[in-house]
């Protein structure tokens, strides 16, 4: 389980997160909503130990990781995998090398075995034909798929973290990515690998998540399911999720 307890973080004078607290099980499908610059991505980076909070605690399975060294954090990070906005593919490597990255670092697989596993993953995500393309030759949707394939290669994350996975994509491609995200978290809790998705696209979040949080001015001002979200009395939040009513 992930728990953020009174987490505060500021960049200089700008307070991004102000005593933020929440808990999430690994099998949950959580969406963190909010406008740009509200600290959504910062929460993901804190969970992974890529940032340290100014105050507060971050507990993974009951253990506070805020004081852990980089080598201690490596074990905790194995619980997660992340897909960053725009994919964050290694631009000097082709698709095959990107997906094989973890296998090369951690396994003694032969080249044939790596090829077989990479092809199998890409085939599952419907992009096997792109295996020898470079990242700049891929469309936005394909880049996200490759990033998802890389995040699944060589590890079995308990929880996936998605940072704006559909931003900048056309509605059809965004819909395909949502289906893929949902497909990957299929199964029954508690064995299921859940996810936290941070996005400002409410419709996409509603397609995949079952729990929603809304971040504003460094605080979580809403935490609930889709029905509670639609029935919120907060006028600003109602305005933010207006496309849900239209749908």
């Amino acid at each position: 389980m992930i728990e953020l307890r009174d987490v505060t973080l500021a960049y200089g004078d700008h307070v991004v997160l102000d005593r933020v607290s929440f808990k999430a099980e690994f099998h949950e499908r959580v969406a963190i909503l909010g406008s740009s610059g509200e600290g959504k991505t910062t929460i993901l980076r804190l969970i992974l130990g890529l940032l340290r909070p100014d105050s507060g605690k971050i507990l993974i399975d009951g253990q506070d990781i805020t004081e852990h060294s980089e080598s201690q954090l490596r074990d905790f990070r194995m619980n997660f995998s992340i897909v960053f906005q725009e994919g964050a593919l290694f631009d000097s490597m082709n698709v095959r090398e990107n997906v094989a990255f973890c296998m090369r670092e951690y396994t003694n697989y032969s080249e044939d075995e790596i090829e077989k596993r990479v092809r199998s993953l890409l085939n599952r995500l419907g992009i096997e034909d792109a295996i020898y393309l470079m990242p700049e030759e891929l469309s936005g949707g394909m880049q996200r798929r490759v990033a998802i394939a890389r995040s699944l290669a060589g590890c079995e994350p308990k929880m996936m973290l998605y940072d704006e996975p559909t931003s900048g994509l056309d509605p059809l491609t965004a819909d395909n990515i949502c289906k893929l995200i949902k497909e990957l978290s299929k199964g029954d809790p508690p064995g299921r690998a859940g996810f936290i998705i941070v996005t400002h696209k409410v419709t996409d979040a509603s397609k995949v998540a079952e729990r929603f949080m809304y971040l504003r001015n460094g605080n979580i001002i809403f935490d609930g399911d889709i029905n509670a979200l639609k029935n919120t009395s907060d006028t600003e939040l109602r305005s933010f999720i207006s496309e849900l009513y239209a749908a």
């Binding site: 992974l48 194995m78 997660f80 960053f84 964050a88 973890c102």
Partner: protein, 254 residues
């Protein structure tokens, strides 16, 4: 930037300088990456080193022979050109060219990986960015800069020879005999030891600047500029300090 930030950045830099070379002593060994960087830094820099060295050698020879001929001593051109090139100008000039070409490349490459979250991806997947990104670059720079310096020195001496013989009309064999005279342990050692330090400094500074890049394209530009400026300053300062130490160690009186 306040004092606390400055101290914290200096501390990070020293840690990087200390840990980067130690990366070669533990698994995983990034041999393929190291060879690729050696190729980029060494083979890729040959043309610029050749060009810079040739013209430095020719300019130096031209200037020195003009001054010495006024004193009737132009037969010593080879000796003075050789000493200046091997002990001082060669290592410094090649290091400055190396900082401009390779140092800026290292910073922009690592910086864009930072800004594109590629380094975060490495950390999430349990890969140590220092070992994966910094160690191979530092090792490659430390190994390749001395090689480039030796090649550059040879090209400079050839440039000096061309000016001495075909412009200043001196004896070619006498030029080379003077070069042979100065090719003793002290001079060669002084000239060859410096590029090891310069390569280490350039690569550590450039990697650090790349890893600390923040703030989009503008931040990357700032980091790259800082890397080249800091490398240049450190080359000049460390050259002076090393020269002083070498004179002392080799027992040469000033």
């Amino acid at each position: 930037m306040n004092i606390r930030d400055t101290i914290s950045r200096l501390q990070d830099f020293y840690i990087l300088c200390f840990r980067a070379p130690l990366g070669v002593f533990g698994r995983p060994f990034y041999i393929r990456e190291t060879i690729e960087h050696m190729d980029y830094m060494g083979t890729g820099s040959l043309f610029i080193v050749f060009l810079v060295s040739l013209f430095i050698g020719m300019a130096l020879s031209l200037q020195i022979s003009a001054e010495l001929s006024a004193l009737g001593l132009k037969m010593y051109t080879g000796r003075i050109v050789g000493l200046s090139i091997i002990r001082e100008i060669g290592p410094v000039a090649i290091a400055l060219s190396f900082a401009g070409r390779v140092g800026s490349g290292i910073t922009s490459e690592i910086g864009s990986m930072i800004l594109g979250h590629q380094v975060d991806i490495m950390r999430v997947h349990g890969v140590n960015p220092l070992k994966k990104l910094v160690t191979p670059r530092v090792i490659s720079a430390v190994l390749m800069l001395p090689v480039l310096t030796i090649i550059g020195d040879a090209v400079s001496l050839l440039g000096g020879y061309y000016i001495s013989v075909f412009v200043s009309h001196q004896s070619g064999s006498y030029y080379w005999s003077q070069i042979r005279d100065i090719m003793n342990f002290k001079n060669i050692f002084s000239g060859v030891i410096k590029p090891f330090l310069f390569g280490y400094l350039i690569s550590c500074i450039s990697c650090y600047m790349g890893l600390s890049a923040r703030g989009g394209a503008q931040g990357l530009r700032k980091a790259t500029t800082s890397a080249v400026v800091m490398s240049t300053i450190m080359i000049i300062i460390s050259d002076f300090m090393l020269t002083r130490v070498l004179l002392l160690v080799l027992g040469e009186r000033v």
